[in-house]
Amino acid sequence: MTYIAKPKLHHPKLPTNKLGFTHRDYEGAVSTLCAGCGHDSISAAIVQACFELDLPPHRIAKLSGIGCSSKTPTYFLGASHGFNSVHGRMPSVLTGANLANRDLIYLGVSGDGDSASIGLGQFAHSIRRGVNMVYIVENNGVYGLTKGQFSATADKGSKNKRGVMNTDSSIDMVSMALQFGASFVARSFSGDKDQLVPLLKAAIAHDGAAFLDVISPCVAFNNHLGSTKSFDFVREHNEAVNRLDFITTREPIRVDYQPGTVEVVTQHDGSVLRLRKVAADYDVHNRIAAMNYLQERGAAGEVVTGLLYLDAEAHDLHGYLNTVEKPFNELGEAELIPGSESLERFNQSLR
């Protein structure tokens, strides 16, 4: 970690967003993670995405569990709401918070240990229910806080820092998210902010359960030869299916690509995603084809990245449950205690 606080001074020509903030205003405390940790790059990408979306920091809630990744919400969005929950229990806490106040933007920040081991069930059910959130897994394939044991996402056959091979099968979070019904699924790499920032922006704008698996090399325990989560390995085997430009409704769309190479998708909130296709016949709207493609390329040792699946017409949990529009904290006495007459009417309806 670093002993000094990051100086408050910033570049005099730093751009400001529509709220008058610079990206520095979206930062948190200085990171205590190891120098060079991929998680810090993800934090910086979140800062950048929220800055570019002109989000008021107090309208964002960041929730996490336990682990290196779950420490990171301290290091971004210092002026937002935060909840550092129990190991693996972030999805439940987030679901509860979301039900109580649907007006906030929910960032669930977790890691491969927190979500693929102790919290696997919580992860599955929050996705199943379609909670409106951005579920980010900062995936480094090791337990960093306990000095580098293989985690559940470590690939079978990859080697740890001492050269010992992993004999367990790995859990692919992206495949699981697809299977559980996430309506926005993407994978990216902490070392590629050009790809990660637009994906984060699109995920934040998405109504429904958005899942983002971000490969994030652990420089202390998983950045060696034989690792499949190292900077070098991911750069060599990164196979992006598309590049995403995120456009808010306010901006005009410039068409400067060959027809057939660009797909324009409009989401529920009116935001526009422009996908520049890299893999020509990849269809982001076909869940089953996406799952097949992932299995195929995964078997070939490739790391497939980009926006992998999108249901632009998705609904979220509130829609399914037909809940009240207003957050609980804005409901008055009259709405919360409708009186005995209402109770009688309700009881009658069930008879």
Partner: protein, 595 residues
Amino acid sequence: MDPTDIRVPDYFHKVVDCQWACPSHTPVPEYIRLIAAGRYTDAYMVNWASNVFPGILGRTCDRPCEPACRRGRVEKEPVAICRLKRVAADNKGEIKRLLPAIPARKNGKRVALLGAGPASLTVARDLMPLGYHCVLYDGDGRAGGMIRSQIPKFRLPEAVIDEEVGYITDMGVELRLGRRVDSLKAVLAEGYDAVFVGTGAPRGRDLDIPGRKEAAANIHIGIDWLSSVSFGHIDKIGRRVIVLGGGNTAMDCCRSSKRLGGEQVTVVVRSGFDEMKASPWEKEDAMHEGIPILNYLVPREFVLRDGRLAGMRFEKVAAHYDGTGRRSLVATGEPDLLLDCDDVLVAVGQENAFPWIERDIGLDFDKWGMPKVDPRTMQSTLPKVFFGGDAAFGPKNIIWAVAHGHEAAVSIDKLLSGEQVKDRPPPLVNLVSQKMGIHEWSYDNDVSLDLRYKVPHAEQAVALKNIKVEVELGFDRKLGYLEAERCLNCDVQTVFAAPLCIECDACVDICPMDCITFTGNGGENELRPRLKVPANNPSQDLYVSAALKTGRVMVKDEDVCLHCGLCAERCPTGAWDMQKFLLEMTQAGPACRSR
């Protein structure tokens, strides 16, 4: 762009903006750190070696370093470098034991130094320790030149001059003071091996307008008047005083008048307030003492009443710019302004005057009457005669005189050692890692957010009563420490080793100033606008690495780097390191010679 070659001394030298801007290239951050550490004597000696007059310059320097200071681009105001120099001088211990030893056995070479100002004194300082026999000439009875004769005592107390001039004259310089040199030929005839001319720009410009002759008794040339005040020949002035001119001499004149009986003192300048030559802080000090500065007024005539100066008439003008941006002053047509006064001080510029240099001795002059002098070697067309200070290229300031003196001393030492004066010695450059522990550096990398501290002043009622009461009290140790902490340590360089970089982005993410970008290479003009924050200050270099594994390059815009070292702290592989760059100019002596 090609990868930056950091072995070229100029590259990192330019990053140390203050040192690069200083004519003598004093290692500013180095001595500021010593002040912060309470090592005032060491801080003083770093200065003394480079600029010879730390106590004097700490009060009077034109401080080209401060407008250059990176802090001024990062927040509102630069570090008070000049006044920190004074902190070192005020708080130092005994330094005599640290001065260079003067050899008892001389080397047999004799050097004449004409004019006992800062340029000549610097030459003596550099040559005396090498065994030269130096002879110092001046028309005044005491050494110091314009430092003693023109700078008012309320800005620079006599004791400081005596001390710092004394360090040099005490080296055993032969003094021939109180007698003006009136022939260079005669000096040369004495058989000197080299002659250095540091006679300044001793002639104040006059103003030839109607009434000048008739009112002569109450019209004074600024620098001559200041010198008479300095030496105690003048101790009062009329109640109403007009000072003509917008330079630092004018500021000294008006503030001196205020202390010698001038109740209503007014400065009048021809052009605009903002274009005045005086340093902004000197203008501020004058106005703070209740002296108005009137601008856009062109003097027309001295008005006499009963054969005595009664006032001045000025034409009102405005600035007009033509298509090429050239300015002219055009009369506004309004009625002239009449200002009553009892005395006028004319401080409208200084000129060189060399009536004492014969034109038939092989020393060439240009059409403006200035000697032809090589700006690097300070040599004239007569190989053994050198020039420096205001005498060389017209009026500048003390720190330029010192810089000229050092260069002339190198030339003289080389010439008298039988070497080519044109072969200049490179500076001494050192680059050393400051890493002490995993996140520990041997400099304080925590950036202070304090704004510039004001120097405490003496109470005005007291200061205006006595011309010898120093106005500025200087920073005390505590304020000096706090101001020193504002220094960004620009000499502790961010050094990048491309082969170690794994492109994890940690430095990009942590950099508080968004200086660092990893991107595809390109030409400089194409690269500058597409950095993380566009690099719009072309006077500041881009630091470009060799190609990295992904084919991209690291580009760092040096412009507003805080030198906080966070890039190096967050780098997992040590690709970034903080290394202290120390550049010292090579002075006269064995190091400047090739053999």
